[in-house]
């Protein structure tokens, strides 16, 4: 590679992240051609048709993203799944595509479960009758096994999760992602182009070090034309259970998610305060919403979940009108 980012690009460069990266006419002779081509594009038409068939019965898909690690994506994905599945008439699926650090099995109380195969494909692991989960965690022989895979292998598994899991008819498919803007994120957007993604929920914490990465994630969404449902600010203040005084554990030195959302014209879905019970519930595999129904954090989560539901339902009915 002659140079890194910002090297002399050919005039008609399709973009290093585009599906034509490395294979467009303009790529000939570019020093980065080999690399762009190696980062190959999405599924071929036959694969796309297969994915489309498998995902045909999914009504709504929500991606949970962040540029930053450790801000509470998996925690939020689990709360969203439990919140939506509280309605017995809704069928909810939670797909964990964090291949290196799959947290969802533990958070959902499903550690040690294994995936079963049937004639119709892999069976998700069910927490409730109407809430099914899939994660690489279920494929490991021990929870401490490291999955040390490069991008292409991770992409292959993600494709399998979408193609080979017998999800059945689902009202909501929630996809929990690892931090970053890399293989997993590109792949899930490309593979899910076979169905429709309602949008992304982006999770952050108040400090600038997180917002820095989250702005990049917002740009990623724009780049791949993924609608942004809104931003959730986790760890937003702490109320001491003893003296009831509020402290900012992660001070929003640059205005927090609120300011960032204003600047970037995206919706702030809500702020969730720090509650030690959240971490405890995650470690114990219990639903925080059920364990701490009176917590201010639960109230925040419920409001946010409702807003997400409204967004999805509204867009669905808009689309139906257009047809």
């Amino acid at each position: 590679m002659a140079e890194a980012v910002g090297a002399a690009r050919p005039e008609e460069c399709p973009g290093t992240g585009s599906a034509q990266a490395g294979s467009a006419a303009a790529c000939q002779g570019c020093p980065n051609q080999g690399l762009c081509a190696a980062g190959a594009a999405g599924p071929d038409p036959a694969e796309a048709a297969e994915l489309r068939a498998r995902l045909r019965a999914v009504r709504h898909t929500v991606l949970v993203l962040s540029g930053k690690g450790g801000v509470g994506k998996s925690t939020f994905s689990a709360a969203l799944a439990h919140g939506l599945a509280a309605d017995e008439h809704k069928q909810v699926a939670l797909l964990d595509i964090d291949i290196c650090g799959p947290s969802i099995p533990k958070i959902m109380g499903l550690e040690g479960e294994q995936v079963h195969q049937s004639g119709s494909g892999w069976s998700p692991v069910y927490v409730e009758e109407n809430l099914g989960v899939m994660s690489v965690g279920f494929l490991l022989s021990s929870p401490d096994d490291a999955v040390i895979w490069r991008g292409p292998k991770k992409n292959g598994l993600i494709k399998q999760f979408l193609r080979d899991v017998d999800w059945g008819e689902i009202d909501y498919l929630i996809v929990d992602t690892p931090p970053g803007t890399s293989d997993e994120h590109l792949s899930i957007v490309q593979y899910l182009s076979a169905t429709r993604i309602d949008g992304a929920v982006i999770v952050t914490t108040p400090q600038e070090i997180s917002l820095q990465d989250v702005r990049k994630e917002i740009n990623f969404c724009h780049k791949v034309k993924l609608p942004i449902i809104g931003v959730v600010e986790n760890m937003s203040g702490f109320v001491c259970p003893k003296c009831k005084k509020e402290s900012q554990i992660f001070p929003p030195t640059t205005g927090g998610a609120e300011k960032m959302c204003q600047n970037l014209n995206v919706s702030l879905l809500g702020k969730v305060p720090l509650d030690p019970q959240i971490g405890r519930s995650c470690d114990r595999g219990q639903s925080f919403l059920s364990e701490a129904p009176e917590s201010p954090a639960t109230l925040s989560y419920r409001n946010i979940i409702q807003r997400i539901q409204e967004y999805c339902e509204q867009h669905h009915s808009q689309e139906e009108k257009m047809i």
Binding site: G70, V71, P179, S182, T205, S210, K216
Partner: protein, 161 residues
């Protein structure tokens, strides 16, 4: 084995800062460790191989600086009046600070190899390598590229839960 470049010849020790988990404080620790070592009179470098979420430039307040080329490769950004901390990060190569680096593995691997062999570090007592969360391309490539050199070891960072 990959060829030894001359750029790491003057580096006495290399430390990797790792975690499986994101958001536990790897970059914070890498920065504090570098500052503490500098305080003890050591010459320190930080190599930030978190390509999607580079935090170190902001933490050391050098996010507006740029890197330049010299005969032996890239000149790292020197922090502070005493220039006792040298830093390389993809953050310095972005046109806009909010630009997302949306790269698949092979492209990330190529840049990491360059970061290891093509940065003119000069003489350093410690080179601290800050990594992103996970056990994937960046980690495999970094360890492979550093194998011919004096890899002191890894520090693992976690939180209690």
């Amino acid at each position: 084995l990959p060829e030894r470049s001359t750029n790491l010849r003057g580096v006495r020790h290399i430390l990797l800062v790792l975690s499986g988990k994101g958001g536990v404080g790897k970059s914070t620790l890498s920065t504090e460790l570098a500052l503490a070592l500098r305080h003890r009179g050591h010459r320190v470098g930080i190599l930030d191989v978190d390509l999607c979420g580079p935090s170190i430039p902001h933490m050391l307040r050098v996010q507006d600086r740029a890197v330049h080329q010299c005969d032996s490769g890239w000149v790292p950004v020197f922090v502070g009046q005493d220039r006792a901390i040298a830093l390389m990060s993809i953050g310095f190569l972005l046109e806009q600070p909010d630009d997302a680096v949306v790269w698949r593995g092979p492209k990330k691997n190529a840049l990491i190899k360059q970061f290891v062999t093509d940065v003119a570090w000069g003489d350093l007592d410690f080179l601290i390598v800050d990594t992103p969360p996970g056990t994937s391309d960046e980690h495999i490539s970094t360890v492979e590229a550093l194998r011919p050199y004096r890899l002191l070891g890894a520090i693992l960072v976690t939180t209690p839960q």
